[in-house]
């Protein structure tokens, strides 16, 4: 094992990976591994792992100014993706051997073509994940995954057996289970670790191979259980949003006098809360997971009954999270120009408030462009919920 791959460093290792999140991937690449960058929890990473590729989740920076991307993409594009692309233009992602984008939203559909045009990543693939989960959508997705698999097999020069895919699913399920165990450490009051520490951990965890990610999570869990000095007793919050991959916001919220004890965000519990069912044909489990298992507004749930029944079906899990983690309030953070989450925000707010959870609804840039103003709003909210 190299210095960067050493075990049991827990939160120190997390910090190192979070700050230098390309370093391990570059090291692996120098050892002959192929690194495949991807956006979004909808990318079926199990295929990448199964074929010996390293999935690397692309991240942006809430603090680094966008200085190059505006010559290529409009300012009304998702600011998270603009940041990622800006970093790509600056060479930050030159180490990627491939780039995979799932059909998550309009922005990712557009950035896929733009990314591959300008950044010329050697292998690229778009996985057209349907919004719907009916029988014909499942069959369609089966065909799509088969095309994806064939393209990866051509890249690596090997074929993928159902057995290998199942083993990869097990590894990623283990990762999900470990993350859930980590999240359970936030249930005590005060939680054993802060929301900022969890964000760093979950971001770090998706920049390394899943086996190393599992080791990392075990190390963090062990350290936190045994000897970690957790945060102070403060107001307990749930954070709801999309691609919040930077600690800038979580740190600001916690420094204002709260603990983020639970989340439903793309780099957080949304990625981990359910496992892929192990099925005879591994595609069956994967199809169910990616079409129905993710709590994401882009995964359409047909309307059932009344509006309240529809909200219960779509958002009931949020109330369950709030109760399980005993939150005093929730922050609904919508990244500006994100249509999918902007549509759901009023319903999420109403539903949580109806369940007795006060909500602060923020619509902001992904970058921390006006932290003082945001902090004032958060502080006022914290005063309100007492």
């Amino acid at each position: 094992m190299t210095e960067l791959g050493s075990k049991g460093d827990g939160l120190a290792r997390v910090s190192e990976l979070y700050q230098n999140r390309h370093r391990r991937a570059k090291e692996l690449r120098s050892q002959g591994k192929k690194i495949i960058g991807y956006f979004c929890s909808l990318t079926p990473v199990e295929f990448l792992t199964a074929l010996g590729l390293v999935p690397y989740r692309i991240t942006g920076s809430a603090l680094e100014p966008i200085t190059r991307a505006d010559a290529y993409i409009e300012t009304i594009m998702c600011p998270y993706l603009r940041s990622c692309f800006d970093k790509g233009l600056k060479g930050d992602y030159d180490f990627l051997d491939g780039f995979v984008a799932p059909h998550a939203c309009d922005h990712i559909v557009k950035i896929y073509d733009i990314w591959r045009y300008y950044l010329k990543t050697r292998y690229t693939h778009f996985v057209n994940v349907p919004h719907m989960s009916d029988a014909s959508s499942r069959q369609f997705f089966r065909e799509e995954l088969a095309v994806f698999q064939r393209s990866l097999e051509k890249l690596v020069g090997n074929s993928l057996s159902p057995h290998l895919l199942t083993e990869a699913i097990r590894l990623h399920n283990e990762n999900r289970a470990l993350a859930r165990e980590l999240y359970r450490l936030r249930k005590p009051d005060p939680p054993l670790l802060s929301g900022t520490e969890v964000t760093k951990t979950t971001v770090a965890a998706v920049t390394i191979p899943v086996e190393e990610s599992n080791e990392l999570l075990r190390g963090v869990i062990q350290e936190v259980k045994e000897c970690h000095q957790g945060p102070r007793k403060n107001a307990r919050l749930l954070l709801y949003g999309a691609e919040l991959d930077d600690i800038a916001f979580t740190r600001m919220v916690e420094e204002a006098g709260s603990n983020i004890v639970m989340d439903d965000v793309c780099f957080g519990s949304r990625n981990y809360w359910h496992d892929v069912e192990i099925t005879n044909d591994p595609l069956d489990g994967l199809i169910t997971y990616y079409l129905e298992g993710l709590s994401c507004p882009r995964c359409y749930k047909p309307r059932l009954g009344t509006h309240q029944e529809d909200l219960e079906n779509r958002l009931g899990y949020l109330r369950d999270h709030a109760r399980e983690f005993d939150v005093a309030g929730a922050i609904v953070y919508v990244i500006r120009f994100c249509d999918t989450f902007e549509f759901d925000a009023p319903d999420v707010k109403d539903f949580l408030q109806g369940a007795g959870v006060p909500v602060l609804h923020i619509e902001e840039d992904y970058a921390m462009t006006s932290p003082a103003r945001l902090k004032t709003r958060v502080q006022a909210f914290l005063e309100m919920i007492g």
């Binding site: 010559a71 290529y72 993409i73 409009e74 009304i76 594009m77 059909h103 939203c105 309009d106 922005h107 559909v109 557009k110 896929y112 073509d113 733009i114 591959r116 045009y117 690229t124 778009f126 057209n128 349907p130 919004h131 719907m132 009916d134 029988a135 014909s136 959508s137 069959q139 369609f140 065909e143 095309v147 507004p297 882009r298 359409y300 047909p302 309307r303 009344t306 509006h307 529809d310 919508v334 500006r336 120009f337 249509d339 999918t340 902007e342 549509f343 759901d344 925000a345 009023p346 319903d347 707010k349 109403d350 609804h361 619509e363």
Partner: protein, 435 residues
């Protein structure tokens, strides 16, 4: 004394398109009449591949996107936009959507039609028909959100097409199969809602009529390559209405027949849009600024006309495999082929299907400059415009202009700023022409 109302619409060149206004009014009155007679009415969205299906089942469609444009043209969208924003919907959300959400929110508040609603307002729908489309996220979230204001059955189905770099030979069969099944699911839903079975022969005939209409519309637009320009973009932003909102009807076919004859007459007699046509411009992307289509009059005052546009244009003629006779499968093939029409050309050329279209239009319509409308609330048609122009400029050197405003929300539009940009752009176009 009340200030005179500002003219927001553009001056039309052709007589045929002046009939569209009445056509639109009739769309809304028909929906109210259908409702009064107990006939089914549905909220619908354009480009959903279901036009002929809805028509064949005698369901009267209400096109919410059209209503947004209508309210914008009448400068009466603000109350609806504000009402949606009052409930927490972002001002950056598609303003077609915000208009519709605000309208139904007000309808619920007032327990009746909002007062003086443009064209009598949208009738109360019996069902909402959305799509989980390849692009345009609002299409499956919009009617889901309307659930806050109405308990109306919603049907949303998947409408995907292959990405630009797909191997079409490999993927088309399952894309077509998927869409066919999705359309079958839609028919099942409509049959349940209307308690009426689909008449498949009637659907086939309606699809035949739809295809004939699309073809005629497309052929008419080839005539616009002539110099001087016989029919400008502001006319086209009306002329698309029958095809997009009444496809499969005899009225739509008749409209394009009449339009074809009129445009041909103008071509044969060299009747242009303006007496002194100096510059020919392409509307290269972005939904129209419905609040101020009169900007075309401003362009024309500077000698510039728009012979063609990328937005709301006729579909390219495609051939459905002759062995396909099932009308749903025909619709699926037609849709898929239209959406991937330039994929293979792009793979061999610029890499961007939209750029292939721009290049074809620039050459075919003798274009001197390209104008893009960056509509702030429309990610679907505004994103990637910069990229398209960056790529286009590798092949042709023509001046380009970005107009920034919105489709509906006039508060995002500055007339003075826009006109100054247009002035500078026309000077640049003039300079390029004299090189």
């Amino acid at each position: 004394m009340e200030a005179p109302k500002q003219k927001t619409t553009a001056t039309k060149a052709t007589e045929t398109v002046k009939k569209v206004r009445q056509f639109v009014k009739t769309m809304y009155t028909s929906a109210h009449e259908a409702k009064a007679q107990g006939k089914p009415v549905a909220y619908c969205m354009i480009l959903s591949a279901y036009d002929e299906i809805v028509r064949a089942m005698d369901i009267t469609p209400i096109w919410n996107e059209n209503y947004g444009g209508l309210c914008a043209a009448k400068r009466d969208a603000e109350r609806f936009l504000n009402r949606a924003q009052q409930d927490g919907y972002s001002d950056m959300l598609c303003s077609y959507v915000s208009t519709s959400i605000g309208f139904d929110a007000l309808r619920k508040d007032l327990d009746g039609m909002p007062p003086n609603a443009p064209d009598g307002g949208m009738a109360d729908p019996d069902m909402l028909l959305g799509t989980g489309m390849m692009i345009c996220d609002p299409r499956y979230k919009w009617f889901q959100s309307l659930g806050r204001y109405r308990d109306t059955p919603v049907h949303c189905y998947s409408l995907l097409w292959p990405p630009t770099d797909a191997n079409l030979e490999e993927v088309m069969p399952y894309y077509v199969k998927h869409l066919t099944e999705q359309l079958r699911g839609l028919v099942d839903f409509l049959e349940r809602q209307t308690h009426k079975k689909m008449d498949w022969d009637r659907l086939s005939q309606t699809v035949d009529l739809g295809e004939k209409t699309q073809r005629l519309w497309w052929e008419g637009y080839q005539l616009r390559k002539s110099i001087p320009c016989p029919m400008p973009t502001q006319d086209a932003f009306n002329a698309f209405v029958p095809a997009y909102f009444a496809l499969g009807s005899k009225e739509a076919l008749d409209f394009y027949q009449e339009l074809y004859q009129e445009v041909k007459y103008r071509v044969d007699n060299k009747i242009g849009v303006i007496p002194d046509e100096k510059y020919r411009l392409l509307w290269g992307g972005g939904l129209p600024p419905w609040h101020t289509l009169s900007m075309f009059d401003y362009f024309q005052s500077l000698g510039a006309v728009f012979p063609i546009e990328v937005t709301y244009r006729p579909w390219d003629p495609v051939e459905v495999p002759p062995s396909v006779t099932d009308p749903l499968e025909r619709l699926a093939w037609r849709f898929m082929k239209q959406q991937t029409f330039r994929h293979e050309k792009a793979q061999k050329g610029s890499g961007v299907p939209e750029v292939e279209l721009l290049l074809e239009f620039i050459e075919g319509y003798r274009i001197d400059g390209v104008v893009m409308h960056l509509a702030q609330t429309c990610r679907t048609w505004s994103l990637a415009q910069i990229h398209q122009l960056n790529v286009m400029k590798q092949y042709v050197k023509v001046p380009t202009l970005f107009i920034e405003s919105d489709i509906v929300d006039v508060r995002m539009y500055s007339e003075a700023d826009t006109q100054r940009r247009i002035d500078a752009f026309i000077e640049t176009v003039a300079g390029y022409k004299t090189r």
